[in-house]
């Protein structure tokens, strides 16, 4: 662990009412790293991700992003979210806005760009995810894969320094997963720092610098993909990976 970790999560605990859903979770990332969170359903992956951009509030621990305490009560959460993009499992595109409208809203209303500048930026980002020909389509007119790519473009348009992906391909038909993973591969190549929850193990294996295995809100094991996939130290990790593999 170095002093200049870009993201350092230390002993984060979270309760929903009486139920503790995160137990002293710790991991860290350097700038440009890709970390993949894996684990069974209900193990706290989404919650961990959402604590990083404060869509959920951790009650204990520390999350340092670029040296700043994310969990500080004085932190400007809107400012934090400007710098941390999020991609949702269910896309959550703004249903009343076109693809361009979805991507331009943040630049327009949060960054204060002019209408034209915001539109230009949105067009650039949509081109980046391969949707230059769907600028004026509404979410309901797009396939799931296209919708998720709009979701990625919407987050990228804020020029974030960290991207959070919460099972970005889980809601997609199998034939549409590839186009989204391709866009994510592109981001990895550009050096984007990414914290990804996914069950796409081949993607994880290919791009992750570190895999963190969560179970019951605890980090059971973490390490580089070769180690975790080939020689898991914990029995639970091995069993989980077998279960995932048998689904493919």
């Amino acid at each position: 662990m170095s002093d200049d970790d870009f993201l350092r999560v230390t002993d984060v605990s979270k309760w929903y009412g009486e139920e503790q859903v995160l137990h002293d979770v710790s991991f860290e990332m350097d700038r440009g790293d890709v970390t993949v969170l894996i684990g069974p359903s209900g193990s706290g992956k989404s919650t961990m991700l959402r604590c990083v951009n404060r869509l959920a509030e951790a009650q204990e621990g520390s999350i340092l992003l670029d040296g700043e305490e994310v969990l500080s009560p004085d932190l400007d959460v809107d400012e934090l979210r400007r710098e941390v993009g999020m991609v949702f499992q269910g896309f959550n595109l703004f249903a009343h806005l076109t693809a361009v409208g979805n991507v331009a809203l943040g630049p327009r209303r949060v960054l204060g760009l002019s209408e034209t500048e915001a539109r230009e930026r949105a067009e650039d980002q949509l081109e980046r995810v391969g949707l230059a020909d769907q600028l004026d389509s509404y979410p309901a007119e797009l396939s799931g894969g296209q919708q998720q790519r709009v979701g990625i473009a919407r987050a990228l348009a804020m020029e974030p320094k960290l991207m959070l992906f919460d099972e970005p391909t889980s809601a997609l038909d199998p034939e549409l997963i590839g186009e989204v993973l391709e866009v994510m591969h592109g981001l990895v190549d550009e050096g984007m720092t990414m914290l990804v929850v996914t069950h796409e193990m081949s993607f994880a294996r290919a791009v992750a610098d570190e895999i963190v295995f969560l179970d019951d809100g605890r980090v059971v094991e973490r390490g580089p993909p070769e180690q975790l996939f080939e020689r898991p130290e914990e029995e639970r990790t091995g069993r989980f990976l077998e279960r995932i593999a048998s689904h493919d």
Binding site: R81, F88, A95, G106
Partner: protein, 265 residues
């Protein structure tokens, strides 16, 4: 349903209202009146101006009440969904009281108890009865409209607000730019309903001495009792035109702003 059919229905509906209004003193001659009587139609058209003024009053009351209802009811609905503490409780209680009180009572309280003043606008002045009518009908409409907006705001998926916040919009901005535009679209059917109800309920202002369309119609057929059906039909036609055009206009607004849905998924 055909236009003629709708017209007939509207007429029957208004007849019902008139029958209730006249229950205390049933006009004689109803049984002998027949709709084709030229003398009675001539009587109606001779008094068209008189009814026209009533219609203008009805329109004015409706428009002003609906607007006041929106200006007050929309924020009230938003407070019920997003607010908390005393403000939310106060809004909820005010809504329950207003919805639970007969409109006649609200109007009488406004006019005789609160004693709203005459409002001078320079070019024209609004009588204190008119002010009381607008306030009473408007605030009651606000109480109902708040429920339309409460329901439609709450119907927008939480993920929409969350996605808005995830790009750095404040809570207010996310509601304003993401939730409200979707909720307003879903509010149009409820709003059409509310408009029709307010339009018909304007007749209640006779209780504070205002003679709008229906009251004037009643005055007329009390004067010439053979013309009851003719007067009622004439008035119903006016109500019908008002409801029909407004609902059509709101339909157009709805389809103009409808969110396109493709066949692909």
């Amino acid at each position: 349903m055909s236009v003629a059919g709708t017209l007939a229905l509207a007429a029957v509906e208004s007849l019902g209202a008139a029958a209730r209004a006249t229950a205390g003193a049933p006009p004689t001659g109803l049984s002998t009146a027949f709709v084709g009587d030229a003398v009675d139609w001539e009587f109606v058209f001779r008094n068209a101006d008189y009814l026209g003024v009533g219609a203008l009053l009805t329109i004015g009351l409706t428009v002003a009440s609906i607007l006041l209802g929106f200006v007050v009811g929309f924020p009230a609905g938003a407070v019920e969904v997003y607010g908390d503490g005393y403000l939310k409780r106060a809004v909820t209680v005010a809504g329950i009281v207003l919805r639970g009180t007969p409109i006649v009572v609200i109007l009488i309280v406004m006019y005789f108890v609160v004693g709203v003043p005459q409002i001078n606008l320079g070019v024209a002045s609004i009588s204190s009865a008119m002010t009381a009518g607008i306030l009473g009908l408007g605030l009651r409409s606000a109480a109902y409209q708040s429920q339309i907006f409460r329901a439609t705001l709450a119907s927008v998926d939480d993920g929409q607000l969350e996605a808005g916040r995830s790009i750095g919009l404040s809570r207010f901005e996310a509601v304003r730019y993401v939730v409200v535009p979707q909720a307003l679209r879903r509010s149009i059917p409820g709003f059409q309903n509310e408009f029709t109800i307010v339009l018909k309920d304007t007749s209640i202002v006779f209780a504070i001495g205002l003679a709008e369309l229906l009251t004037r119609g009643y005055d007329l057929f009390s004067e010439q009792t053979t013309a009851v059906l003719e007067v009622i039909l004439f008035i119903s036609a006016i109500y019908f035109v008002l409801t029909f055009t407004t609902n059509r206009a709101l339909d157009r607004l709805g389809s103009y702003y409808a969110i396109p849905e493709g066949e692909s998924t």
